[in-house]
Symmetry: C2
Subunit: 487 residues, 2 copies
């Protein structure tokens, strides 16, 4: 019998992993040094060639004992490093070392959450964590927040006024499903709504909604969604009222708490009231904004969230997890009955009757990685105060950056940030120049900036998700843009 390569679990697993992890850490260090900046130099073609040359044949006839070092080194050398302060384009967070280390345990033990006998403990851990997070969303949210201080930087786009909205008191306990991210959460939310109201359901969403919302309607076979204008970046409540009045139902309204372009929050209390008045179902995509729940200072900005039927959360944004760490919080757990699914090899009736938990109805996936492990470790290690502190740090940093832009004669600020996104542009530059400076910095490997088109113009976007970013870094970023804008 030939020798087999070592396995990650079992009594010998940790000893087999130790030297391999050393190789990975060394390759990460060396690759990061070789890169030298927030992303590799040279632009797409050059970077692709460098990776291809470094990796060589990915499926050779016979194995290459250096493969682990080779591939990890090449990956690190050609990565856009989310921990680099000038890597600030997207909702692409630098993961915590703690969460990353915890995720190793998920990989090594490889529990799969489709049956109890593949994940006896992990399934209970998931129940604990999803219950706790669902309580953050739906629990005693409204009441608790009434006494919270007003938001630190109110903007005209923010609705923080407490309303008289009475949310239905719950008899069943809210729950949450773990997903691969906001997109799958939105897909599941639409599927649950379709099953609750039939395939004639009409999705109504703002022009500011994430692209995955209409894409999910396409996936699950709903009619073309109705798009409500969002001229100020948030869903227009009067236009929503009109749409719900004029269009035949049933309706699913999808609102956003933390838009991708500007980090704005739709007026959730007013939207929830309209939904209640029109008998519409409400989904809130809080993939970005949901992290504010952890902050006593910012939590009140999510007033009204607890009136939603379903809420998308995403801890690989304001939660500092490696991808994937999405959730769909569900107010009425009865909604999940439609996901119930029977497969004799996983949840036979007599096994369920004999007390084996039936996990198959917690996801559309079958084999399923326990992303809950890293989430559980992070929540417990940091606590609400620690996570809230990180949220406040990046929001404060975004305010600093907005102040810097606002005070600089060479730049125009779109608006003070609601969460941690700042849109800005060099004054007197046209859209082509804005697009060009971003691509130039990308190609030169000096900064990763995002872009957003709003108010009919193209803006540069920074999404501050790195709690280690210092005011100096932000000044350097602004200098870099100033010095490289064409014209």
């Amino acid at each position: 019998m030939r020798t087999s390569p070592s396995l990650a679990s079992g009594p010998e697993g940790p000893d087999a992993l130790r030297p391999l992890l050393d190789t990975v850490l060394d390759a990460l260090s060396e690759g990061t040094r070789a890169r030298g900046g927030p992303l590799p130099r040279g632009g797409p073609k050059a970077v692709a060639a460098r990776l291809r040359d470094a990796v060589g044949d990915v499926l050779p006839a016979d194995g290459d004992p250096n493969a682990l070092h080779t591939v990890v080194h090449a990956l690190a050398e050609t990565a856009a490093d989310p921990a680099a302060p000038l890597c600030t384009a997207h909702l692409h967070c630098p993961p915590l070392a703690l969460a990353t280390a915890a995720d190793l345990a998920a990989s090594a033990l490889n529990p799969s959450l489709d049956s109890w006998d593949q994940a006896p403990g992990a399934s209970e851990l998931e129940a604990l964590v999803t219950g706790a997070l669902a309580r953050e969303v739906f629990g005693s949210g409204g009441a608790e927040d009434a006494s919270a201080p007003p938001p630190a930087t109110p903007t005209t786009r923010l609705t923080a006024t407490p309303t008289a909205l009475i949310t239905t008191r719950l008899t069943a306990t809210p729950t949450a499903l773990i997903t691969t991210g906001g997109t799958e959460s939105n897909q599941l939310a639409l599927l649950l709504a379709r099953e609750a109201h039939g395939a004639g359901l009409r999705l109504v969403h703002g022009a500011n909604a994430h692209h995955s919302v209409p894409r999910a309607a396409w996936l699950v076979g709903l009619a073309e969604p109705v798009v409500v204008p969002a001229p100020a970046g948030v869903l227009d409540v009067a236009a929503l009222d009109e749409a719900l009045t004029e269009l035949p139902g049933p309706h699913l309204v999808a609102a956003t708490a933390g838009t991708t372009d500007a980090g704005l929050i739709d007026p959730l209390p007013e939207i929830a009231e309209l939904c209640a008045a029109h008998g519409a179902r409400l989904h809130v995509d809080a993939a970005y904004g949901g992290g504010l729940l952890f902050s006593d200072r910012y939590r009140a900005r999510l007033a009204g969230l607890d009136a939603a039927d379903t809420v998308t959360l995403d801890l690989h944004k304001l939660g500092w997890q490696p991808v994937a760490a999405g959730l769909l919080a569900v107010r009425d757990p009865g909604d999940l009955a439609v996901l119930h699914h029977r497969a004799d090899y996983l949840n036979a009736d007599d096994d369920t009757e004999a007390g084996l938990p039936d996990l198959l109805g917690r996801s559309l996936r079958t084999s399923r990685r326990p992303d809950v492990v890293k989430i559980a470790v992070t929540l417990k290690a940091l606590g609400r105060s620690g996570l809230g502190g990180l949220v406040e740090q990046v929001c404060d940093r975004a305010r600093d950056f907005a102040d810097l832009v606002h005070g600089h004669p060479g730049f125009e600020l779109y608006d003070p940030p609601t969460i941690s996104t700042v849109l800005f542009r060099p004054a007197h530059a046209d859209d082509d120049a804005v697009a060009a400076v971003r691509r130039m910095l990308l190609t030169d490997g000096r900064a990763v900036l995002g872009r957003a088109r709003t108010d009919g113009r193209l803006w540069l976007k920074t999404t501050l998700l790195n709690p280690h970013t210092r005011p100096d870094d932000l000044a350097a970023l602004l200098n870099l843009v100033e010095g490289n804008t064409p014209g």
Copy 2:
């Protein structure tokens, strides 16, 4: 400014990770020792209570510095360990230490495959690996295998006869998408078929298909599928011919290469011929059987696979990856045009024109973890010969076990294995006793066996995926079942 917890990437990332990884490895060792067997003792309620007590509050007000050790230890103590030789129920493989270590790099650098500026190198690595795997499926498959030796243990259910089927020569290069597993691959296959043929498409699948196939039809809004009988465990070709002749099209036929219950392979060449004759589209779910592609000895069993339009593969089965490592191989890359999706912040027209790759159409997800990293390291480190050797080892072990069962007067063997699944039952036991012995061994923490209902009777199932399992382990497993069957 308060101190923030360390990040996983950047120049300081590896040093921050090192002590945390030590904590994880120690907690894995200690938790595994505390468990002492393939799974924890006591059954669902007791195990859940043990985990809850060990973990405590998952979202405390303030952080707990021991959280990483606490949670990982509890997880290991309450895991069903896929590396334990008596953990042999499901398509739930023990991951290679190598793949597990490589996955750490994906977590640490956190590339997200929805835009080039979040994954400059990872996106090229994915292109390399998916291209190589698509070539394994569609490449020169048929021609190459014509000279391969016949399968080692032919069974009446296996169709290994070369056929005169001429597959269409390709002008475009086949490709593959990376998914969360066989289930998402099947969903994507149905979506691509729906878009190619319209929502009137009729899915036709065998009674032996994985449950995710009809579930995917429900997800994407297709009509109730037509189920073709599979009395011998594989799709009945005459019944398929009849269904395709009588029912109005367009049709999508879903065949299986490696059934979940018995590891059988549908007669792919005949099915492909029928699809060609009736103008039906063909999808093959090779989530389990696809791994045979790596073995020169077993590859010929997949003859006909290259005639499919889409093929589900899953390297967290016969590929020894931590979940998730699914793929959907697509013969005609033009089929993917319907996934094309535009989001100004990720793939604006002017960016695409300027040469930034557009990655959004490679998945239904948006943020997407580079599961390709661990796959690339494994393929390169083992090569085709190394992976093929592992496949052959577990198939050989399954044959050994089948021989053991067959030679034992106290047991009945369902059939010699086609891949690595063996169904067996204690002779003279009724179904209740079969179900009971499995649950007893689960509750006592002594063995994880699967179950399958076929031929109208309930069987115990072992799916041998552990290349380290020895003949002794198999004898011990059989003794355990013998000694614990009631009645």
